[in-house]
């Protein structure tokens, strides 16, 4: 892991350090007539980590999209580092980063150009010398000038990871970070999460790789049909109590 990932994030003037990193109170979100989230409560201290588990369609991605401010809750409130997205969306977005499970790049541009676009919006140096090392961290330095349209799904995921890390956010949401990756990619994500934690970032990870998630995070949460079905220490998630509560244990329906 390169020193860039381990370096502490910039600390712009922000809210008091005693406030939780992530708070959600009674968050509900509906798509059409289906409730994707129902009365979700969450409070995470700064520097902590949470692995979110649940079946497909249980609301994990919606929860992350709400916390990252991409989607507004229909009911309830969220706060990131004490900031209310409804009042100060711009400040919240400076402090929270989301690794989406979708590929969301400009396909006509190269990997490097995609990072340049993000760097300019973030006010970071958009130079090749500054960005190629970021691509090297995710194993894409040799493909820096290739258009994204030629990339495999795993390479796109690595590029998304590079862009998420470029933001150097204080709260990092990783939605299915292992999805589409090969075994070295799994280890890359493990290293990234460890590095984020060591620099004091708050990390939330939604994954079906429960053993890996539990090994990397302190707390666990299971969503079932949009509701919090279980919370507890992450290690208990894989020992059975968390899995059973949401029918996630192998052999479950």
């Amino acid at each position: 892991m390169s020193p860039e990932i381990l370096s502490p994030p910039p600390t712009p003037p922000g809210p008091a350090s005693g406030t939780p990193a992530v708070e959600a109170e009674g968050v509900c979100r509906r798509y059409g007539r289906r409730w994707a989230l129902v009365n979700v409560d969450l409070s995470l201290p700064r520097g902590s980590s949470l692995v979110v588990a649940g079946r497909n369609g249980s609301g994990k991605s919606t929860l992350f999209r709400v916390l990252s401010t991409l989607v507004r809750p229909d009911r309830g409130t969220t706060r990131i580092l004490g900031l209310d997205p409804r009042a100060d969306l711009h400040s919240v977005r400076r402090r929270v980063a989301l690794l989406s499970h979708h590929s969301n790049h400009h396909e006509a541009l190269s990997a490097l150009e995609n990072l340049e676009v993000a760097a300019r919006f973030l006010g970071r140096p958009p130079h090749r010398a500054a960005l190629v090392p970021k691509l090297a961290e995710v194993g894409l330095a040799e493909r820096a000038d290739d258009p994204v349209t030629t990339f495999s799904a795993g390479m796109r995921k690595r590029l998304t990871l590079a862009r998420t890390l470029l933001q150097e956010a204080e709260v990092v949401l990783l939605d299915e970070p292992y999805g589409q990756l090969d075994p070295p990619g799994f280890r890359l994500v493990d290293d990234v999460v460890a590095a984020l934690r060591s620099r004091g970032a708050t990390v939330l990870m939604a994954t079906h790789q429960l053993e890996r998630g539990a090994a990397l995070c302190e707390r666990g949460l299971v969503l079932e049909a949009g509701r919090v079905a279980w919370t507890g220490p992450a290690r208990d998630l894989v020992r059975g109590s968390g899995l059973d509560s949401a029918g996630l244990a192998e052999g479950g329906a």
Binding site: S68, R72, R94, N104, H106, L122, G123
Partner: protein, 221 residues
């Protein structure tokens, strides 16, 4: 300004990568002008009389192709979502896209002027003023066109929906641009073009202000 500059550079990069599309839109606009001339026939006085209207109709039709595609790929590839996750104001994204569309439509308008002159014998000794009217008129198409392109980019029938929404809204701009252009081509002894150009500038100011304000509501959840 940093966000706007970043948005403009992104748009310039994307336009350069898809520059073949601009040539295709020019061919479409020139073909439309040619077909309009068939409707009038060989009456050179009538052709010259209607040349400004045909120029703006050709530009309007061609603009829907440019505008409809301007958001489509970014929405389809979820690249816009990635930008919204960054600390960037939606207004910066809007003005970046709108200025890029304006530049494309202005270039298209400038390129269609020689075609109009050749097909309709519609030369003018006030070419600078005519190009100015094209700049103002395409600005009036670009701002609402960019907003509606964002609204319709996810729709399956976006190529139909965009003109349905856009055309009624830009009637005042088209009217002012056509009248001003026509006066510059056919002669303007009473100096009426100045009033139409002022009206055009007013509509541009309104559209660019309002659309910038509304864009956030269109792209944010």
């Amino acid at each position: 300004m940093r966000e706007l500059s970043a948005a403009l550079r992104k748009e310039a990069l994307l336009q350069w990568r898809t520059r073949a599309q601009l040539a295709a839109v020019f061919v479409f606009g020139a073909s439309a002008l040619l077909l309009f001339s068939f409707a009038i026939g060989p009456d050179s006085a009538a052709l010259r009389q209607h040349s400004a209207g045909f120029l703006w109709l050709g530009l309007l039709l061609a603009s829907t192709l440019t505008l409809a595609e301007s958001f489509h790929s970014e929405m389809e590839q979820r690249a816009l979502e990635a930008q919204l996750l960054l600390p960037v104001r939606p207004a910066a994204l809007f003005y970046g896209k709108a200025i890029s569309n304006w530049a494309q439509l202005s270039l298209l308008g400038f390129a269609l002027v020689p075609v109009m002159v050749v097909l309709y014998d519609a030369g003018t000794d006030r070419l600078g003023a005519l190009l100015g009217v094209i700049l103002l008129g395409t600005a009036g198409l670009s701002a609402p066109g960019t907003l509606y392109a964002a609204m319709t980019s996810q729709a399956r029938a976006r190529q139909t929906l965009l003109p349905l929404l856009l055309f009624p809204l830009v009637v005042p701009v088209l009217l002012a641009a056509t009248r001003a252009s026509s006066l510059l081509i056919t002669g303007d002894p009473m100096d009426q073009a100045r009033s139409w150009i002022a009206l055009l500038a007013c509509f541009d100011a309104i559209y660019w202000s309002l659309c910038g304000l509304l864009f956030g509501r269109v792209v944010e959840d």
